[in-house]
Each structure stands twice: as structure tokens, then as C-alpha cells.
Amino acid sequence: MSRDEIKDVILEIIADIDEEADFVSLDANAPLRDQLDLDSMDFLDIVMELRKRYKLQIPEEEYPQLATLTSCVNYLEPKLKNV
């Protein structure tokens, strides 16, 4: 998957979790949770959805690497390169 494709997947997963999510003014380098007003339960859903779709096991200590859209893409790029 390319970086753009990974970005689209993340946004699609978030849109599916929260139908009111507004991406218009989203800053890719700022924390997703604050900008989208997501809580830790929503955040867990991103991790669970990645596991369900791509069989990715993301250990809890690596969750901080999913903080921003850019850091998500950086973290997932090597893991999804063959998808």
C-alpha cells in the first residue's frame, strides 16, 4: 500500500467509527484524538479495525505511534507494504 492509500484507509476507518467526524480542517501532524474529539474507546476501535482487516497485531506500547495521521502512515507503511 502506498502512503496515500494508507492515509485513506485510516480516514475511512475513523469515518466508520464516528459518522460526525469532520476531516476538512484536519492537521495531519497534530493528534487525531484532540482534533476529532475521540476518546480512548474510539481509539481502540482503530486498532481493532486494523487487526481485523490486515491481521496486524499492534502492541499497546506502540499505540502512541498512531497519534497523528502522519505518524500512523509512518508506522503502518512497512507493515502494509505487501498488502
Binding site: 464516528d18 460526525e20 474529539d37 476518546d39 476501535d45 481485523k52
Partner: protein
């Protein structure tokens, strides 16, 4: 290999919510329900063509669609349900009525504050302070038990006001007698006085249908009329359940929503079962009268919480029923609801399980009839007369509640002692629902969700 990744005992609100979470993320999940209908404590039944709801007077934690952090909206996101699928109706207004004193409240917290200013002018500043203390309190932080009564006594210095505030919060969500843990008080204060009451349009049947549909859409399986006889334990782990019919179902993990005492019995979990048996149970009387006869009754209230005695005694009564305090609910009095063919009045009073349980079968009916009458008469003192107009009336006791829900001694709010982390002596058996900590419809569903998130999805 086990047949299921997750077996859930109980198709009530916590079990269905837990099931939706697990199935949504691909776990092969089976909910096993003893009854022929879903809902557990918040279900419905049909009698002579009338659909009667159990449990539900109102849902708490009302929230507007945009409030993302509100418990109701978090819950719907977790279940992947859209607010748009639901037709929610807010309460018109409710009343706490004590002998000679009355406080109204709506879903606008300013109304209660103004009412307290009117009825207890000497305590209004202290009430405002109390609200600030509650706003700053974190009820989810691990903390030792603290007395709400003492907290209120110190903050309000007005015993009657303290009783008036406690009545709705206790009767809608306190498993303990006489007093309430401060954390639970804060949760209930926000749920009732700050967020407020609402209900879904239609009946509990449609609401439950929507949840079950969602569960099935994610691939979850559900079996009715399958009472569990035993939670099977081998070599320190749970391997599944055996049904009363003899069938054994295997599961990698089992989640029980049957309450701690019943889960102990099913699994052979050694411990002080009595410690976990709640003492608060209720009898509910439902009366139907023609709409034309409802006009003379209290019109503009959704729920009336009444109390006639000197001090509030929230505890198991000495007699079959305590009609000196109780709750009267008009399920139609929510904004925007169309009147049904018949007007419904629901009356709830504290009841003594041991007395009801000890009744021989041949006198149970007549005694129930006698107390149904007593509850109705007590409610007439508050809302006006309606006995001559009753076209249908039914009531259920703590024994009925226990039979249909397996909540030990019909304790609708479960154990006074909660197992907040949901764990048991076995690493793959968990408990969720009223005995885990959260109460009410929204609370029970959050309980199922939280336990699955913490222990099963990770």
C-alpha cells in the same frame, strides 16, 4: 478447539452490547439466553394483547447528538449504531414529592436549581457549591467507599433536601441499603439531574430488535430458551457451559451477565455468595386506563418520586411492600409521543424478597392482589383516583424478577459489592452487567462494552 471464541451467558442489555463488540471485530460469539425474549431486566411481555415493558421507566444520560463525550453517544459509537436510527423523546418533567415539599426537575439543570432556591432558600448557595464539587469529582478513579449521606450532610446541612435528592438517584441505581457510595452518587447525579431522562419511541421490543439485528449483522449468534446449568471448569480454566438440556457448548472465553451469586453457583466459584446478594428489590404494578379517564390525573409529569414518612429509609421493607415511598411513572409523558390507545401508569415500591419467596403457591396470587391494591391506593394519594377506570392491571414481584432474570433475590441493581474489573477466579471467565458496576440501560450496555474491550478484544 472450542466451538466459540466467546460465550455470553444472558441476552440482556450488557450481554447484547458485549456481543456486538466481540462480533464486530470478528470473534465467533454466541449469546445464550434462558428466556424466549431478549432484554433481561429491561424486556417486555405480552398479556391479553397488551405489550407491557419491564424495568424501563426512562433511560438516563440524555444527550444531544453532537455531544461526543456524553455516555449515550460513546455507547452508540461503540456499538456502531447511528443516532439517526433512534427516535428519542425527552421527559416533560419530573417531580420529587415529599410530605409538604416538592421539587420539579427537567433535562435543564437550571430548573432544579431554581426549584431548590424556591423550596430551600437557606440551602441554595450550598447546593451550588455541591454541584461544583460534583463537577470536579472523578467517579471512575479507584477510591475507597465514601458515604453519600455524610457528603450531603456536610455540604447541604439540610436533611430533607438531602433525602429529596437521594430518592431518585437511589431508586434508579443503588444496590446498597440506606446509603450510597459517593462515586455511584456522582454518576447517578450526572445521569439524572444533569443529563436527564428520555426514552425511545415505540416500545422496548423495537429497541431490543435494533440491538439484536446489529449483533446478528456482525455475525453474532443468539439462542433463546437455553438455560445454563453449569459453567464447566477443567484444570483451572473454563471450557464452556452445559445447558439444562444436557448440551455442552465450548468457548475460549465465557462472559457471564447472570450476576455474581448466580455465576458462583454455576461455576462452583467458592466464596461468600451471601455477600454478593443484593437486598433491594421491587414490585411493579402496571395499570391501563382509557385515555378519556386520564385527564383528571397529574398531567404534566413524566415521573413522580414520592415519600410520605419523616426520613427516607431506602432499604428492604419489613413487610411485603413499602408503599410509604415509591415511583409513579407515566410512560406516555415524554415529549412528542403519540397517545396510545390506553393510558399507562406504572407504580414501583420496594419489596421484600424473602417474604414473597416464602409464600405457598396457593396464596401467592391473593397476596399479590392485595399488595397490588395497596400500591395503587398509595399512588392515588399522589396523582388522583384511577382505580374505577382500570381496564387491565398486572404486577410483578421480586420472585418474578428472579425467575426471569436469574438476578439473585430479584435484586435489580445486583450486588452491593461490585467486581469493577470483571474478573473471577478463572482467567477466562468474566462478569459484566449490574454486578460489575454500571447500572441502568446505558450503564449496563457500557459495562458489557468495557469488559469486552478490557479483557477480550486486547
Amino acid at each position: 478447539m472450542a466451538a466459540y471464541q466467546l460465550l455470553i451467558i444472558g441476552g440482556g442489555l450488557s450481554g447484547i452490547a458485549a456481543g456486538i463488540r466481540a462480533a464486530r471485530f470478528g470473534l465467533k460469539t454466541l449469546i445464550i439466553e434462558q428466556h424466549g425474549l431478549p432484554g433481561g431486566l429491561n424486556s417486555f411481555y405480552l398479556r391479553q394483547g397488551h405489550l407491557l415493558e419491564t424495568g424501563l421507566h426512562a433511560m438516563t444520560n440524555c444527550a444531544p447528538p453532537g455531544a461526543k463525550r456524553a455516555p449515550l453517544n460513546r455507547l452508540l459509537r461503540q456499538l456502531h449504531l447511528s443516532r439517526k436510527q433512534f427516535d428519542f423523546h425527552e421527559q416533560i418533567g419530573s417531580e420529587i414529592r415529599f410530605a409538604g415539599r416538592s421539587l420539579l426537575f427537567t433535562n435543564d439543570p437550571a430548573v432544579l436549581e431554581a426549584e431548590i432556591g424556591r423550596a430551600f432558600p437557606e440551602a441554595i448557595d450550598r447546593f451550588r457549591q455541591l454541584k461544583q464539587t460534583i463537577a470536579a469529582y472523578d467517579p471512575f478513579a479507584v477510591a475507597p467507599w465514601r458515604s453519600s449521606r455524610q457528603f450531603l450532610a456536610e455540604h447541604l446541612r439540610q436533611p430533607e433536601l438531602a433525602d429529596m435528592l437521594l430518592l431518585p438517584l437511589m431508586v434508579y441505581g443503588n444496590a446498597e441499603e440506606e446509603d450510597m457510595d459517593l462515586g455511584q452518587f456522582v454518576i447517578m447525579f450526572r445521569a439524572v439531574f444533569e443529563e436527564g431522562f428520555f426514552r425511545p419511541g415505540g416500545t422496548m421490543r423495537e429497541f431490543l430488535d435494533l440491538l439484536v439485528q446489529q449483533y446478528r449483522a456482525f455475525g453474532g449468534e443468539l439462542r433463546y430458551r437455553c438455560p445454563v446449568e453449569e459453567i464447566v471448569v477443567e484444570d483451572g480454566r473454563v471450557t464452556g457451559v452445559r445447558l439444562e438440556a444436557g448440551e455442552v457448548l465450548t468457548g475460549e472465553t465465557v462472559l457471564s451477565t447472570a450476576g455474581i451469586p448466580e455465576t458462583m453457583r454455576l461455576s462452583g466459584w467458592e466464596g461468600e455468595r451471601e455477600r454478593y446478594v443484593g437486598r433491594m428489590s421491587f414490585m411493579e404494578t402496571i395499570s391501563l386506563i382509557p385515555q378519556s379517564q386520564a385527564a383528571s390525573l397529574t398531567r404534566d409529569r413524566t415521573i413522580v418520586f414520592y415519600h410520605n414518612g419523616p426520613r427516607l429509609r431506602y432499604r428492604r421493607p419489613e413487610d411485603y411492600l413499602d408503599t410509604s415511598w415509591g415511583v409513579i411513572c407515566f410512560p406516555e409523558h415524554f415529549s412528542g409521543l403519540e397517545p396510545a390507545e390506553l393510558f399507562q401508569i406504572r407504580v414501583t415500591n420496594a419489596a421484600s424478597y424473602p417474604l414473597w419467596k416464602a409464600l405457598p403457591a396457593e396464596v401467592y396470587g391473593p397476596v399479590k392482589q392485595q399488595w397490588t391494591e395497596a400500591a395503587t391506593i398509595a399512588s392515588e394519594e399522589i396523582i388522583g383516583n384511577y382505580r374505577p377506570s382500570i381496564v387491565y392491571q398486572d404486577s410483578f414481584t421480586p420472585v418474578t424478577i428472579e425467575r426471569y432474570t436469574r438476578k439473585a433475590e430479584g435484586a435489580v441493581y445486583g450486588s452491593g459489592v461490585k467486581i469493577k474489573d470483571g474478573t473471577t477466579p478463572w482467567p477466562n471467565l468474566f462478569v459484566a452487567g449490574t454486578d460489575q458496576g454500571y447500572l441502568g440501560i446505558v450503564g449496563a450496555m457500557l459495562s458489557g462494552i468495557t469488559i469486552v474491550n478490557q479483557h477480550i478484544l486486547r
